[in-house]
Structure formats: structure tokens, C-alpha cells
Point group: C2
Chain length 284, copies 2
């Protein structure tokens, strides 16, 4: 399915009928924020509740292939002998639709395989953050103290996508200042849900219980507010669109001659695009 193989079509069709939905939690943050450590701590916490957990580690900068094996192995160490944990690294670069196309289908498979919790972890500045939020029920954004620049840059995106804000590595000196900054941001947020700010030291486990509480509160709010239904509707829409474009991409390959004509200035790109569509049976 990661490879976009057409033979997976029949698999997708069968999967529609499987039982209850998994709880999908997205984790994103800048490189170095400790995403893997927090993810690992959450795996432990959900396992302690007896739930089966799948982790999708999506790397938007890696080519879209069958998983980053080295990454899998490193991440697997702690949970390697636990049959209730499945971990998979996926690249999404070069795939039309990127995360939007691949992630929901992977989640669908994991759900069918009986993983009640799916953690989707991705490095994020920009686009990836937004896409992970569209695939998840709850999105956790990680920041670390003292990364003022990154927080500044991420502000707009963070406010829009974060359901829970984690200040990881909270044993660092400027933790209080970072928490204060984030509180100031959250105070400006509109909407019914105000993202809680949870300090953690994931390496020692400090704050993980509080993070689990925050996740549970958000999960309950999703049902009370009707937001879960809204998000799942938006997700269905995104998934259908991404698949439709994926199907079209196979048809819409720009022929060499047309690309050469455009590069040489013999045809403007818009006219070329219309010719391409016309050749594929589309008329405007």
C-alpha cells in the first residue's frame, strides 16, 4: 500500500467493513524536540492499559519507499519483543499528496489489524504539521525550552493544529519562559478547546501521566463537542481527494516533447496543461 501498488485496491475495498475505529494520535515538532522519546513513553503507557499500539513514523524528507529500515530497528529496540506493538517508518517524499495520500490508508490497515491506538509521528515545520493534524483525532505539538526561533516560526501553524502542547526536556533552565510564551499564545486562541500545556521529561517519564490525562480529556471532548464527527468527515474528504489525484497522476504524465516545448518557450505552461488534460479525456 505504501508503494501505491494498484493491486492493493481490493484490499482497501475489503477494509471498509472492519469494526471499531482506532484512536489516532499525531505527534509533531521540530528536529530534536524528542518526538521518538515521547512516542516511546506513550507506547509504554498505552501498553500498560492493555491496548495494542501501532506507530507510524513518517519522514516527509525521505523518498516514498518501503520504510526506513535502520530507523525501524533503532526504534524497535525497547518494544522489539512485544507482540502488541507494531512500528513502521515511512517516507512520503515524491508521493503525490505526500502524507495525505499515504497516512490514512496506512491507518486503515492498522485499524483492521486490531491496533486500538495509532501514533503518527512526523517531523514538522509547515505542511507536514497541517497534514498530520488532518489525519489524527488528537494532535500533539512538541516544543523544547529555549528554541525561541522555532517557536516563533511555528506559531501560526502550532495554534491552528495543536490539541495538546508538550514542552519536552522540561528540566532545562528556560522551561518557565517557554511555558509562559505558549500560555500567551493559547490565550489568544479562539474555539471551544483550549490546548493544555504539559511539561515533560520523556527520558525519565516525568509528565507522561499528565500527558495521558490531557490526551484522554481531549478524546472525551471530541465526542461531547461533536468535533470527532467533523474531523472524520474532513478526513474522509481529504482521503477521497488524495486517492482521486493519485489515480489521475498515473494518467497525467507530461510527454517529453511537451515539456521540451514549454522549456524552450514555444508554449506557455497553461496551454500545455490544457493539452495534457485534453489528451487524457478531460475538456474545459
Amino acid at each position: 500500500m505504501e508503494n501505491g501498488d494498484l493491486r492493493t485496491r481490493d484490499v482497501v475495498r475489503e477494509l471498509k467493513s472492519t469494526g471499531t475505529a482506532s484512536r489516532v494520535i499525531g505527534l509533531t515538532g521540530a528536529p530534536g524536540a524528542g518526538k521518538s522519546t515521547v512516542t516511546s513513553a506513550l507506547v509504554r503507557a498505552f501498553r500498560a492499559r492493555g491496548q495494542r499500539v501501532a506507530v507510524l513514523a513518517v519522514d516527509p524528507s525521505s523518498p516514498f519507499t518501503g520504510g526506513a529500515l535502520l530507523g525501524d530497528r533503532i526504534r524497535m529496540q525497547e518494544h522489539a519483543t512485544d507482540g502488541g506493538v507494531f512500528i513502521r517508518s515511512m517516507g512520503s517524499r515524491g508521493q503525490l499528496g505526500g502524507l495525505s495520500a499515504a497516512t490514512p490508508q496506512a491507518i486503515r490497515v492498522l485499524q483492521a489489524a486490531g491496533y486500538g491506538v495509532v501514533l503518527v509521528e512526523t517531523v514538522g515545520v509547515g505542511q507536514a504539521e497541517v497534514e498530520i493534524a488532518s489525519a489524527a483525532d488528537t494532535t500533539v505539538v512538541l516544543v523544547v525550552p529555549g528554541m525561541g526561533d522555532s517557536i516563533q516560526a511555528a506559531k501560526a501553524g502550532v495554534l491552528e493544529v495543536a490539541d495538546v502542547l508538550v514542552v519536552n526536556k522540561a528540566d532545562r533552565p528556560d522551561t518557565q519562559a517557554t511555558v509562559r510564551d505558549l500560555k500567551g499564545m493559547v490565550a489568544l486562541a479562539t474555539g471551544d478547546w483550549r490546548p493544555p500545556i504539559v511539561p515533560t521529561v520523556a527520558t525519565s517519564g516525568d509528565g507522561v501521566a499528565e500527558l495521558m490525562q490531557a490526551l484522554d480529556r481531549h478524546d472525551a471532548w471530541l465526542d461531547e463537542s461533536g468535533e470527532r464527527a467533523r474531523r472524520r468527515l474532513a478526513r474522509a474528504r481529504d482521503e477521497v481527494t488524495a486517492i482521486a489525484f493519485g489515480l489521475l497522476a498515473r494518467r497525467l504524465t507530461v510527454p517529453d516533447e511537451l515539456a521540451e516545448t514549454v522549456a524552450a518557450g514555444g508554449c506557455d505552461p497553461l496551454t500545455a496543461a490544457e493539452r495534457l488534460l485534453a489528451a487524457a479525456g478531460f475538456t474545459f
Copy 2:
């Protein structure tokens, strides 16, 4: 054109016939790497050569709208009274194809307006880096000393897209270690062009002359090696594809009922995608 207004079609068609191509230089790097400062230093250097310079500051995490005005104003200060400099901030989030769809068309307009140099600046971890590289003749990747995690995370992407590597803020203590790391990466690169590593302190102007030399050497190499023609062909292909998908996106809106059926599990997303395409006149 940023807004994807259909009336710009005729403008695009007219622009095909305009004279010489602009030199397009992409600059990317993590938040805090000093992209704006380096860009500003390059504007100064190209202006000293008498060239007209346009800057496109693309923010993939901002919604796709008519420019981040505050950003424009802050960036404009140094060059505000210089008629030979044009600066524009663009968001690209939510635009199908993102950077790939909007940037080449913006470059086309700037070229037609007589800007011999176009600097495209974007924050990048992941996707954005790759997309900027596809729109630029020369891609500059900025790193700062001591950002080990970021470098680690960006390694795969950096090696593939960087034509020139800049270690900015090179007055920091771990500069030598960072340069050594990058040299180790570059030594593994295959291909005819080995990216030079240029230390700069853009705030003081140190290293900017060396950066200009590195840019000129790469520009000359693009012609000698035939790589410029290859890149422009690839760019034409990407641009035509992005425009074609943009045209299709107007047709392929998932109807509410279909999204609801998928969300409720009454139809799998692949079948829904096929229905959507069939309704739009596409058959498989």
C-alpha cells in the same frame, strides 16, 4: 496570480514570449538559520553589480493568500527606497501543489518584469526544500553551527538538493565541527558537482563575497555541464503538472453526501474516488 484567479490565464499566456531567463536562486534552511539576513546580503551584492533583484519569501505554513504584509514591511526596510528591488511574501498552505504550483508562475511574472535575479527564500525541513530546488537554478542550504539534530534530520534532503552549503553564524564556537560534518557528507555525494561549503556571518557581511563566487561558479557549471537545460526541462514538466492538477482541483470537490458515506463506513475511499472521477468525466 497568487490567488489562482482564472483571469490570470491570459496573463500567463502572454508571458511566454518575454526575453531572457532570470537567474533563480533558492535559499532554504531551518528556522533561525538566518535566511532573511543572508538573502538581504545577497540583494546588496547583486545590486552592487547593477542587477535588479526580486525576493519571493515563501512560507509553506501560512495560508495561501495575498502575502504576509507584516513580513513584507519588516523585510523591506533596508531596501525600501530602492526601485530595483521587489520583495513579496507568499503563503502556500492549502494550495494544491503548494510551492510547486505558485512559485514558478510568480517567477515567470518577475522575469517578465525585468528582474534578472530572483531569490526564493523558504523555511525548509522536508518537502519545501525539495520543491524549492525544483524551481531554482541554484539551491543554497543554510545551516548554523551546533544544530546537530537539525543537520542530522536534514542530511538526506540536504545532500540531494544543496548546490551550495552555507554555514551561517560562523562566529559561533562549533563552526569547525559543523564544517567538518558537512565535508564528510559532501564527500559521499555522487555526481559531477560537489557542493562547496561557505562559512558566513551574514550580519557583518563576512563570507558574502565567497558565497557570490560559489554561486557564480555553480551558474557557470550549469551551462558547461548541460545541467541547466535538464533542470529547466524538469521544471517545465513540474509546472505543467501542477497547473493541470490545479485546473482539475476546481472540478474534483468531494460532495458532502459522498464524504459522509465514506466517514460512516458505507463506502471505501477508493470506490468514492472512482465515483468522483467518473462524475467529472473521467473513466478508468
